[in-house]
Amino acid sequence: MGKDIHYSLISFFEERMNGHDKVEAYSRIDVADEILYEIDRSAGLPTLTVHLSDAYIYTLNEYYSKPDILKKGDFILVTKPEASYNSVADNVARSEGIGLGPIGKLMGALNKRDVSTYVVPEK
């Protein structure tokens, strides 16, 4: 938990949001010690909050200490390209309707009404 994310990762996240078909607008949410964005989507898709996590390994401890603002339908971005998350945390997040994963997964999940149900296609 925290803001230990290189600024280029944040600006790159914003560039990706700018380039996504379903993203109408985004704005940074002012929360101390965390990086959160509200994402407004088109085509009647619900607005969601994305938490940019600075964890290198996203574990259950990270999940159960997540910002209170996160609720069902939101997404936790494992922001650092080399960061990872284990299947235990992923399963718990999905069971509570919250998406968890890297930028590629978020880009796909933004097309779905329920972002937690998105599964990255196998290569």
Partner: protein, 308 residues
């Protein structure tokens, strides 16, 4: 702490003056007083030469535009005249810069995303920025440190340092002209290993490590009943006062309530740690259902200090 492997030519010169010059002078004095003036003259010339060599090799304070962490760290490694004390001190200044490069390479290079679900353009865009803004800048600092302190590098390590200089030169050329292929001058891993090994060796004796281990084991870890724990990262490489201390825990929690309770305790421990040691404690926590992940991660870390 002095590295016994370092051989200084100056020391031998000093020894010759000390052990040979004076007795030779006395012998000449005994056998032929007429040579006294000549001997004194030669001795003065030798001593003057030694002083001149020392003066010409003096360390001049350098402005490297170091980050706060690097600058703070550098203070501990400077001699009275502001220069870098010795090879170990040079290694300790180089380590955080190399570590930042390693982190940038790990986070941003195309190779780093090979196993991730991130699209390739994410990696490439960031990598291009990281090359210029992090690696290029840091490489210039490394090159300047090496050039200005080459006399501190023991002869047996100079070839490794030369390889790093060649790599930096080629990488700089690649930044100027991306078509320039620097694959013949890839980053020499033996350079990173040499610096890392030197820092690990001196850190073993660092009192701060003992203090931190004592504080964590006696004051803190019992509160969360950790099943397993270890330290990793920069704390095992020396007293990098501005660096986080990285602690990894396996705790027996299984329910959300237990995990939240542990998280709160750990927050309090982090605050107490910062107050005690004036640096941040970063804790990676695995709960009981993540036991396999904990041990997989531990296997992947090159150097750990087991606590429990």
């Amino acid at each position: 702490m002095e590295n016994p492997e370092i051989a200084y030519g100056d020391k031998w010169f000093q020894r010759i003056l000390t052990y040979a010059g004076l007795p030779a002078g006395i012998l000449f004095l005994i056998f032929n007083l007429n040579y006294l003036a000549l001997i004194c003259f030669l001795w003065l010339v030798s001593a003057g030469g030694y002083v001149f060599i020392k003066w010409s090799r003096r360390q001049v304070p350098i402005d490297l535009n170091l980050t706060q962490e690097q600058a703070e760290h550098g203070k501990e490694t400077r001699s009275a005249d502001g220069g870098i004390k010795d090879f170990v001190a040079l290694a300790r200044i180089l380590w955080p810069i190399l570590n930042e490069n390693k982190r940038a390479f790990r986070d941003f290079s195309p190779r780093s995303g090979a196993n991730s679900a991130a699209p390739i353009d994410w990696d490439l865009g960031l990598w291009e920025r990281a090359k210029k803004e992090i690696l290029g800048e840091n490489n210039r600092k490394i090159a300047e440190l090496i050039n200005d302190n080459y006399n501190l590098v023991p002869n047996e390590f100079r070839a490794i340092f030369d390889k790093e200089k060649s790599h930096i030169f080629a990488f700089e050329k690649h930044l100027d002209d991306p078509r320039f292929d620097y694959s013949d001058h890839q980053f020499p891993q033996d350079f990173a290993s040499l610096i890392d090994t030197t820092c690990v060796e001196i850190a073993k004796d660092a009192p701060i490590l003992e203090g931190i281990i004592g504080w964590l084991t006696k004051e803190s870890l019992a509160q969360v009943a950790a099943n397993d724990s270890f330290l990793m990262g920069s704390i095992l490489r020396g007293e990098f006062t501005d660096s986080d201390v990285d602690l990894v825990l396996l705790v027996p929690d299984t329910t959300p309530e237990e995990i939240r309770s542990t998280a709160k305790k750990l927050d309090a421990i982090k605050k107490a740690f910062e107050k005690e040691f004036d640096r941040r404690l970063h804790i990676l926590v695995f709960s009981e259902p993540e036991t396999d992940s904990f041990y997989s991660f531990r296997e992947s870390v090159d150097l750990i200090k087991q606590l429990i």
